[in-house]
């Protein structure tokens, strides 16, 4: 083998190791018999069983899924609406200001977003809980949805919408029968992104949650302070499995669609 290809191969291996060794360790140790996270004590599914009995942890999983589903929905609706106005309304006062401001939360440190939301909720005397987390996550998610949908709308042939109007569709009908269906792939991608962002967010949730609304990342963090239990490895493995199944399904559907062409 030549020097160059050796270098390339080892670079590749190192890169993948960098990405996947920690994940592999988590999966491996989730099947560890031993209570100690760093000592291998033989294969067992004992922690999965204990996990199913840990109501606190399961509650937080349900809470996290609820928050993620609702906040992603809210983010998608708001983000799509923002993208449509930015891409399609010709000119309105403050268009430039809006289009730059919509992207601000993307670069804003989450701590600051979280703090400012907390201050707002306190000032408005809103009791913190499920809905405040949903709102916080939606503000973050909607920026991503807007970016994705906006890019798609920019790339869309304007004459398609003009054709719809020409054929008698009012602007609103055009939006629902042509513009949005054509932007659907990026709207779905936006939803998926907002969902994952919400699922793994810790910072915003800890600022805006209240009693009885503990999300999974918060629960894991608080358990970590009492010591890492292999249950955490188990739940992480389950989450990764879920994500992998969703990704595989998406890939499979996409491939079948291309094959049908």
């Amino acid at each position: 083998m030549r020097m160059g290809s050796v270098l390339r191969l080892s670079g590749l291996l190192f890169g993948f190791a960098f990405l996947y060794v920690p994940i592999a360790l988590v999966i491996l140790y989730s099947f560890n018999e031993s209570r100690l996270v760093t000592v291998w004590g033989g294969f067992s599914t004992r922690w999965y069983g204990e996990l199913l009995a840990n109501e606190q942890l399961l509650d937080s999983v349900v809470m996290s899924l609820h928050v993620a589903l609702s906040s992603a929905l809210l983010a998608t609706v708001l983000g799509t609406a923002a993208a449509v106005s930015l891409a399609r309304r010709k000119r309105f006062t403050g268009r430039l200001a809006f289009s730059s401001m919509i992207f601000a939360p993307l670069v804003m440190p989450e701590v600051i977003t979280g703090l400012s939301l907390l201050l707002l909720f306190v000032a408005l005397d809103v009791p913190r809980g499920f809905w405040t987390i949903v709102i916080a996550h939606a503000t973050l998610g909607m920026c991503f949805v807007t970016v994705l949908v906006h890019a798609r709308l920019q790339g869309l042939d304007r004459s398609l919408e003009e054709a719809a109007m020409d054929l008698g569709a009012s602007p609103l009908r055009t939006l629902f029968s042509v513009t949005l269906p054509l932007a659907l792939p990026s709207i779905c991608a936006g939803y998926a992104l907002a969902f994952t962002l919400s699922l793994d967010d810790f910072v915003l949730a800890s600022f805006t949650s209240g009693p009885g609304s503990t999300t999974l990342p918060m629960r894991i963090y608080s358990q970590m302070r009492l010591g890492v239990t292999p249950q955490i490895n188990a739940i992480s493995t389950l989450m990764m499995g879920g994500v992998a199944i969703v990704l595989l399904a998406a890939w499979f559907i996409e491939r079948r669609k291309t094959a049908a062409r």
């Binding site: 042939d157 004459s159 398609l160 003009e162 054709a163 719809a164 109007m165 020409d166 054929l167 008698g168 569709a169 009012s170 602007p171 009908r173 055009t174 029968s177 042509v178 269906p181 054509l182 062409r261």
Partner: protein, 352 residues
């Protein structure tokens, strides 16, 4: 008898910043007419079409459809339909839904829509393609779906933006006659925008020649070819020899024009003595021989049915002479001396 025109444009002007895209254009299109807007790219013909469709609003002037002022009427409420240059077929709908789109918007009952779509597919000879998606069609088939979609609502006028530009040469010729057939069968008025003079000449009953936002001439293909109003029209449609000179004598619809080196020619047209003019003669109306302008043969291009001979006149300038028939068989030597002549009735005096 005196029916009002279907479309009336009354001194319509459209500006984009400092650029005047359409400059005080007035024209009328009758119901059932096949009308072509012809001009080089960027002459404002597409903008004019978009003004009629309602995608742009004129800065000045009025657009009337069936005598009704279209100011403030949005595109979806106008009785015209457009076939886009890109066809703009909805990629997420099949052929039948694409064609039915306009009918669904008009809230036509479902069974009637089905029947109408079947009729239209018949008209454009695409039976059996109902369930195809646009990306499963060839360019020519897409073009026909777009035409059927634009015709579905029975519009008073169909706007066709460069309808043949995306097709290859052979298909383009077939489609020209196809469009003419459909137009004849339905009696719907067609307004075609094109930069291709052949297309306009073949298909249209009337042509408006546009140049930098203005209409240079409106007339039948025959009028525009035989009686061009300006130098631009003469040069844009067909081949034209243009000889510059000064009018020295006028009378009885004829002008005597003195060319650069003192040669005089006679041509039809009205002008005044001393005016700088151009004498326009089509290559097929020029002959070699006879009493005329002396010149040297530059080259001959044999084209089978005719020969195109380029002659450099001793008085300056190069003319093209089309030679048909037996005469065409004798190839002329480069550099041989010839006389170029033409009958006054085939020569036109145009303002310089």
């Amino acid at each position: 008898m005196n029916k009002p025109p279907l479309i009336t444009l009354d001194s319509v002007t459209k500006r984009y910043g400092a650029v005047v895209a359409v400059d005080t254009v007035s024209l009328e299109i009758d119901a059932g007419a096949f009308f072509a807007l012809l001009g080089p790219s960027g002459c404002g013909k597409t903008t004019l079409m978009r003004l009629i469709a309602g995608f742009e609003t004129p800065d000045e002037g009025r657009i009337l459809i069936d005598g009704e002022d279209m100011a403030g009427v949005p595109p979806h409420l106008r009785p015209v339909n457009m076939m886009f240059q890109s066809y703009a077929l909805f990629p997420h709908m099949d052929v039948a839904s694409n064609i039915a789109f306009g009918l669904v918007q008009a809230r036509m009952p479902k069974p009637k829509i089905k029947a109408r779509v079947a009729d239209l597919l018949d008209l454009v000879q695409l039976k059996g393609f109902e369930a195809r998606k646009p990306d499963q069609l060839s360019g020519g088939q897409r073009q026909r779906v777009a035409l059927a979609r634009a015709l579905a609502r029975n519009p008073r006028l169909v706007l066709l933006d460069e309808p043949l530009a995306a097709l290859d040469k052979k298909l383009r010729e077939e489609t020209q006659f196809e469009l003419m057939r459909v137009q004849r069968e339905l009696g719907t008025a067609f307004l075609v925008v094109t930069h291709d003079q052949d297309e306009a000449m073949v298909m249209a009953q009337r042509i408006a020649v546009m140049r930098s936002g203005r209409i240079e001439q409106i007339g039948t293909p025959l009028m525009i070819y035989e009686e061009p109003a300006t130098r631009f029209v003469a040069g844009f449609i067909g081949d034209a020899n243009q000889l510059e000179g000064t009018v020295v004598e006028t009378g009885q619809g004829l002008c005597s024009v003195e060319l650069a080196k003192g040669a005089r020619v006679t041509a039809r047209g009205a002008s005044v003595n001393g005016a700088k003019v151009v004498v326009m003669v089509r290559p097929e109306h020029m002959q070699l021989g006879g009493a005329g302008l002396p010149g040297l043969v530059l080259d001959c291009a044999y084209r089978g049915d005719m020969q195109m001979i380029r002659v450099e006149l001793l008085g300056g300038g190069i003319v093209r002479v089309a030679s048909f028939g037996v005469q065409a068989q004798a190839m002329l030597q480069r550099g041989s001396q010839v006389m170029v002549s033409f009958a006054p009735q085939f020569a036109r005096v145009l303002p310089s």
